[in-house]
Subunit: 291 residues, 2 copies
């Protein structure tokens, strides 16, 4: 990984921040910006009035609108929190409607495809830096938004070829102001690492849930519920993530299938040492991470 | 599944219960028996003085001993909580040292192999019924023992050909007295269902942890930590469980590999509908179970 940006002396206070897509991530950003006094106004921008009402009710924004140009009009910072499949479109819209000098970031779970497209398509004067907060959960929507979601979590920022150093510093400082630890890497490195750290776990969990016969469901306990928890996530959202990063996901999945195959062969030949070898390697890595 | 035993009017109070192997499960049984006034004396029997000291300190037993015959001498109920690889030996020892009419059960995670061997080997007058409480966690040992571990959990009881109806009722009542819901099935049916509900999740989680490259570990978040949680379990214990039930585990693993293969092929041909199909089926089953 490249050297990490150093934290600035103190964090910027924003007059107005616009959040496009006020669900779990966008809503939690809004709550913290307001509770911590980091923003005076937070404008929630969405496509469903009901979601915007909930976002306001949980304290995620001070005003809300369905009108994108109007919502972006006063912002010095725009955080685009829409699903991966719509991010390029929504960042492009943000860049075309915002004032000059407005900072723009997104929170997409894949980065290479998005940053490459935006590097090509955004006007040279746009101030966009990609982000990915490693926080969330299988339940989405503004009702799931919560204070302190980013406290102690990692946020990856992924500058592209066109990124200015001062924009990178400003976005880094923004996430640090929410309590996050910021790590900087290229979009390609992000996508390769996240394929194994996040996208493959989703594939493994979903396949496990799908593979469970109905007559076993009454007998599942914490082992199954933990291992399959992320499979409750939104299938459409995750389909977009897996397809956006499919080359890396396929590599990670191939490696996973190799290990499963080794474990299957050890079981098939009643090879206790072969089974224990894999379980020990797994435990070493799992214990290294902690709860 | 066969008809479930009906709950008796009230639960037996035991003068003396012996627990062979006072770790997470055995210790939690002891704590509840004493706290709920269900047993006057609980004798902890183990192989390591240090574990027995901890078991006494956490309130899991009123006395403790390394001497198996002496520990079993006064018991009306013996619960064998040693690892799957030692259960047959330990139940046989319990049956040979206990008084006539003493009830014996175990808590092993596999049942067909154990019940079949014991059906063959135990004297006809022995009162053994196999059990499997669907409770536990990746951390073992008496220090992890906790009150109320079985409250609201399912315990499977697995009578064999030699099991007497009154023994089945007594063991059922014992688990109900700890707050559990008891389900009765054959040892073969238990092992087939648990392969998919518990043993395959362990295989999937361990292979996923083992497949994670070291440079990804700093970037894992709740998706990875949930999906791999059980991989922190004891490799020796789990090796014994997987091998004891390897025919069913291999069947379940084969089905899992088929679903992974379908998902891989859908990703490889950029087939959004094919990916969503599997993610939807997974979510349906995961949502049916709840948190």
């Amino acid at each position: 990984m490249p050297a990490q940006p150093s934290p600035p002396a103190r964090h910027q206070r924003w007059e107005t921040v616009a959040i496009v897509g006020v669900g779990l991530i966008g809503g939690s950003i809004g709550i913290d910006l307001l509770r911590r006094g980091l923003a005076k106004n937070v404008v929630g921008i969405g496509r469903r009035p009901e979601s915007l009402r909930i976002a306001q009710a949980v304290g995620a924004c001070t005003s809300a609108t369905l009108d994108v140009p109007q919502g972006l009009d006063q912002a010095q910072l725009i955080v685009v929190c829409t699903p991966v499949g719509r991010l390029v479109h929504d960042v492009r819209a943000a860049a075309s409607f915002c004032r000059p000098d407005t900072l723009i970031t997104d929170v997409g779970s894949t980065k290479a495809h998005i940053v490459a497209e935006l590097d090509r398509e955004l006007p040279r004067e746009a101030h966009y830096v990609g982000s990915h907060p490693l926080a969330g959960g299988e339940r989405g929507g503004p009702a799931a938004a919560t204070a302190g979601l980013f406290e102690g979590r990692t946020v990856v920022v992924t500058p592209g070829d066109a990124t200015r150093e001062e924009d990178l510093q400003a976005i880094t400082s923004f996430w640090q102001s929410l309590g996050a630890t910021v790590t900087c890497m290229t979009p390609d490195e992000h996508d390769r690492l996240l394929a194994a750290a996040s996208h493959l776990p989703h594939v493994a969990a979903a396949a496990l849930a799908a593979a469970t016969p109905h007559d076993c469901l009454p007998l599942v306990a914490t082992g199954w519920t933990d291992t399959t928890r992320v499979a409750a996530g939104d299938p459409e959202l995750w389909k977009d993530i897996l397809l956006a990063n499919r080359s890396n996901v396929l590599d990670a999945l191939g490696h996973y299938e190799e290990i499963l195959n080794r474990l299957r062969q050890a079981l098939a030949r009643d090879d206790a040492a072969g089974v224990v070898d894999i379980l020990r390697e797994a435990k070493l890595k799992r214990d290294a991470v902690g709860s």
